[in-house]
Every structure is written in C-alpha cells, then in structure tokens.
Symmetry: C2
Subunit: 125 residues, 2 copies
C-alpha cells in the first residue's frame, strides 16, 4: 500500500521529473491524488495543472509524453521523483529539453542550450 | 536581475537538490524569498522549514551542509534546481544518501540502499 501525504500543500505534492538515461532534471510539476493514481495506472506522467485547474497528461498536446520507468517517493511521503523516457526529446513548453534551462551566473540569468522545437508550430490551433 | 515567482504557493517555491557529481536527486525543499537570498549570498543550500516555520540552513545540525555549485531556475521562474556537493555524503535526516530512497515496485514500497549514518547519533541532544 502506498500512502502519500497530500495535506501539506492543499492536496498537492511536488513531482520532480528526471531523464531516466541522462539523469538530467527535466521539469517539476504538481500532482493531486488523481494525478498520482493516473500516473501509476497509465505509466505516463500526469500532473495537476494549477493554471488550468485540471488533470494534465504531460505531452497530450505536444505529443511529448513522459514514459515512466521508475517511481521514487521521499522520506516524508510528500514528494515524488519520476524517472522517465522523454518522448520527442523536449519536456519544456518553450521547446527546451529541460524546463531548467536558465542558469544563474554572477547574479544574472543565462540561457543554456537552444529549443528543440518551435512552440508556435507545436501548440498552434 | 533575478526575479522568482513566489506567488503561487503562498510565498514558497520548490527547490530540487541534485548531486553535482552523480546527478542523483538528493532531496526537495521549499524556499521563501529569504531562503533564496541566503542561498545566493552564502553558497549553502538554505530552505524554509514548513514544520518549524523558520529559515533552515541544510546541515546546520548534522554538519551535512550542501555546497552550491550551480543554480538553475525553470521556464516559469517558479522552481529552483540546486546542484550541490553534499558534505558528509547523506542528505536525508534518516541517514540515507538521498531522501528519495523508497521505490515503488509492483504497487508497494521498497527501500533502496542503507543509511550512511545513525540519525540517533547525529541528532541526539
């Protein structure tokens, strides 16, 4: 039986997504209980979108789904780590491989790497 | 100028801590603005403890501080990634190297690895 503690952030827990092969951190999302159960059941990373206030299967729009290879939970049962295979190569809606593409250097922000796709092409109506 | 968005979680942002050398995820903490500024100024991972409701220099009690080697922020400026050198080898208060030492396998939880120290020894009064 797996019991997570959803009480600390009003029903949400943070979920770190790590590339299964390279170990790079791809993104951080939030899960409510339904997103957690959907992730377990489907094997596809599923989050709760705070902006859309709805369940969010990562990659549903772009096709860049995350195939879950391994799941870890932390000491306090209030954080999740997903090790995934990132379909399409890029996890970020900006087209970057990782959402963490901004590095702090000498007190300012430096963009690391280039987008792998053009968001305007992927998310156009 | 570095501007983070502390508005989404009542003044807090999640901060993922990754081992600079191995790429392993060590823990996830939360930062308020003061913790973020203290991390930048001191080069030591500093969080906001939700249970103690206070600034928390990681490793202050155990000696297992985290020396910050690189800082990344994400696309939305609402999550932080710290790449650190983990002094003492273990990040978790249980003595485990990583807080994410519980793996989900076939619907149940399996502990991975063994503690590197005895918490009773480290945190005794």
């Amino acid at each position: 039986m797996i019991t997570l503690d959803f009480s600390k952030l009003n029903g949400l827990i943070p979920a770190v997504v790590q590339d299964y092969h390279s170990g790079d951190i791809l993104m951080l999302g939030f899960m409510n209980r339904k997103a957690w159960e959907a992730t377990l059941a489907s094997g596809r990373a599923t989050f709760f979108s705070r902006t859309r206030n709805a369940l969010w299967v990562k990659g549903q729009t772009s096709g860049n789904v995350q195939v879950v290879k391994e799941i870890r939970i932390d000491c306090d049962d209030d954080a999740v780590l997903l090790k995934v295979e990132q379909v399409g190569g890029a996890a970020c809606h900006t087209g970057h491989r990782s959402c963490f593409y901004k590095k702090i250097e000498n007190g300012s922000v430096k963009v690391i790497g280039k987008p792998l796709f053009d968001p305007k092409e992927v998310y156009r109506k």
